[in-house]
């Protein structure tokens, strides 16, 4: 799984800002720390909040069934997921 560090940074910033993780330094979030349950301790509503934030930040549309799956396990998996979605969009545009 590969992704740009810049994408991971943007996602970390969203986590802190949009989920009101006050006092937490975005840079201190490890790419592989589990977001839910143990780790960052986010819950299902946080997941949905994150989805709205990701959709706005990256101009994506995320389907309901994709929420909470492997893609959302950590910053790393999210970054890879976002980039793969953006690549698909890019390919479509390239082909038209």
């Amino acid at each position: 799984m590969s992704y740009e560090p810049a994408t991971a940074t943007r996602i970390k910033r969203l986590l802190v800002e949009k989920l009101h993780l006050e006092g937490m330094d975005a840079a201190s979030i490890d790419d592989h720390t589990p977001l839910f349950g143990e780790g960052l301790g986010l819950d299902s509503v946080d997941a949905l909040e994150l989805v709205v934030a990701l959709e706005k930040e990256f101009a994506l549309r995320i389907q309901s069934h994709e929420v909470g799956r492997e893609a959302f396990a950590s910053v790393a998996t999210l970054a890879a997921y976002v980039e793969s979605r953006l690549a698909t969009v890019g390919d479509r545009h390239a082909g038209s």
């Binding site: 819950d43 299902s44 509503v45 949905l48 989805v51 709205v52 309901s64 929420v67």
Partner: protein, 410 residues
């Protein structure tokens, strides 16, 4: 222990003497029952606002074109409430004078938000000076209850509640308590909500709304459908009804309330709050679990709710659970939010009176993990039905349950 120390309540039996309902099936109890029996969902494409901008497109809308004449600046939530209350009091044979001291107990989760949205949008936009404050009169959660009291000219207590999906049931519960206590001799209880973009967007933001019409308790259920409308019950003691020659339709035998205290949007997975509410309602109704002949479930169609609710039922009904007929009015009318508990109470009473459980549409395989006996496709005749349970599991974890019994068994 519930009921062990009644503290000043009478032992009066409280009966339903009037019913009123405004739903996507129409303005009145007659079209409601017809629609419920027929079993085709009223959930369809939204016309009230531009749904193309929302994540989903469907709702069960009240046919506004069929509305009787109403107060010029009243909100739709108010108008549904008033129409349902007028139908119920008419059925109960109540003149305005007879209603004078009645108490009104009402639930609404959005009040006049639909009408206020237009005001807010203007106020926060570039043309703020043109926003009409009169629209904001509407944005009151106490609007529908007050409107009912105003239209009937009552002078007894008026209490509005807004406890999300359990509002209507809690309002009915409040009326029950007030009547037993002797605070009032007559109570008008119910709930009303109208479709609005805020609520629609909000539930969609939570990804709780199914793109298709909801399919409660089905294996492939994917969320709820939003509805709107109002339900009203006229309630009084049996003695009071008899004294004025009114006909008891059913007995409101008991009510129970309990909170999950688990999570703001997700029910407790084991349904502990729901089963506590149901158990309390049964105890309050002096009814054994074994006596319940059918259940009008909360049954929203979300993966979490239906499972939690089923587990709650298993906890209460034990081995018998799989044989008790279960239906969900939401399968046909969507989730009426603050009025759900009230409209579903009406549907439950109708089921007892007609000795028939209304079906849900045949739409997908039942979820075996849930283990309930679903009524699908056609009404189920229950000629010897005596007692029924109606449940409401609210957003935020508050749960309410009502137990109704046949009037003949009173």
């Amino acid at each position: 222990m519930p009921g062990a120390d009644p503290g000043g309540t009478t032992g009066a039996k409280i009966v339903v003497t009037g019913l009123g309902a405004i739903t996507a099936f129409g303005w009145g109890v007659a079209p409601l029952w017809e629609g419920l029996r027929e079993g085709t969902t009223a959930v369809g494409p939204i016309t009230r606002f531009d749904a193309s901008l929302h994540r989903t497109r469907l709702a069960a809308e009240v046919p506004l074109a069929l509305a009787p004449h109403g107060a010029r600046r009243a909100t739709w939530a108010d108008r549904f409430a008033v129409a349902a209350a007028e139908e119920a009091t008419r059925q109960a044979g109540l003149t305005p004078a007879a209603c004078a001291d009645a108490g009104v107990y009402f639930g609404s989760s959005t009040g006049g938000m639909l009408e206020s949205e237009a005001y807010y949008a203007t106020l926060i936009g570039p043309r703020a000076r043109h926003a009409r404050p009169s629209l904001l009169v509407a944005q009151q959660l106490n609007g529908p209850g007050d409107a009912v009291a105003r239209s009937l000219g009552t002078s007894g207590p008026v209490e509005s509640v807004s406890s999300a999906c359990a509002s209507g049931s809690m309002a009915i519960g409040a009326a029950l308590r007030a009547l037993r206590r002797g605070d009032v001799e007559l109570a008008i209880a119910g709930g009303s909500d109208s479709l609005c973009q805020l609520t629609y967007a909000g539930f969609n933001a939570l990804r709780s709304v199914d793109e298709r019409a909801c399919r409660p308790f089905r294996r492939d259920r994917a969320g709820l459908s939003i509805g709107e409308g109002a339900g009203v019950l006229v309630l009084e003691s049996l003695a009071h009804a008899r004294a004025r020659g009114a006909f008891p339709i059913a007995v409101l035998a008991g009510e129970g309330e309990a909170c999950d205290a688990h999570h703001m949007t997700a029910p407790h997975p084991e349904g502990i709050g729901a089963s506590a509410a149901i158990s309390q309602a049964l105890a309050d109704a002096e009814t054994d679990a074994a006596e319940i002949d059918f259940v009008n479930a909360h049954g929203t169609g979300t993966p979490h709710n239906d499972l939690a609710e089923a587990r709650a039922m298993h906890r209460v009904f034990g081995d018998r659970t799989g044989s008790i007929p279960v239906t969900s009015t939401k399968a046909l009318l969507g989730h009426l939010l603050g009025s759900a508990g009230a409209v579903e109470a009406v549907a439950t009473v109708l089921g007892l009176v007609r000795r028939e459980v209304h079906p849900m549409p045949v739409a997908g395989e039942p979820d075996e993990a849930i283990g309930l006996r679903l009524v699908l496709g056609r009404p189920l005749a229950l000629p010897r039905a005596i007692a029924a349970l109606s449940t409401s599991l609210a957003f935020g974890g508050a749960n309410a349950a009502l137990v109704f019994r046949c009037a003949e068994a009173a």
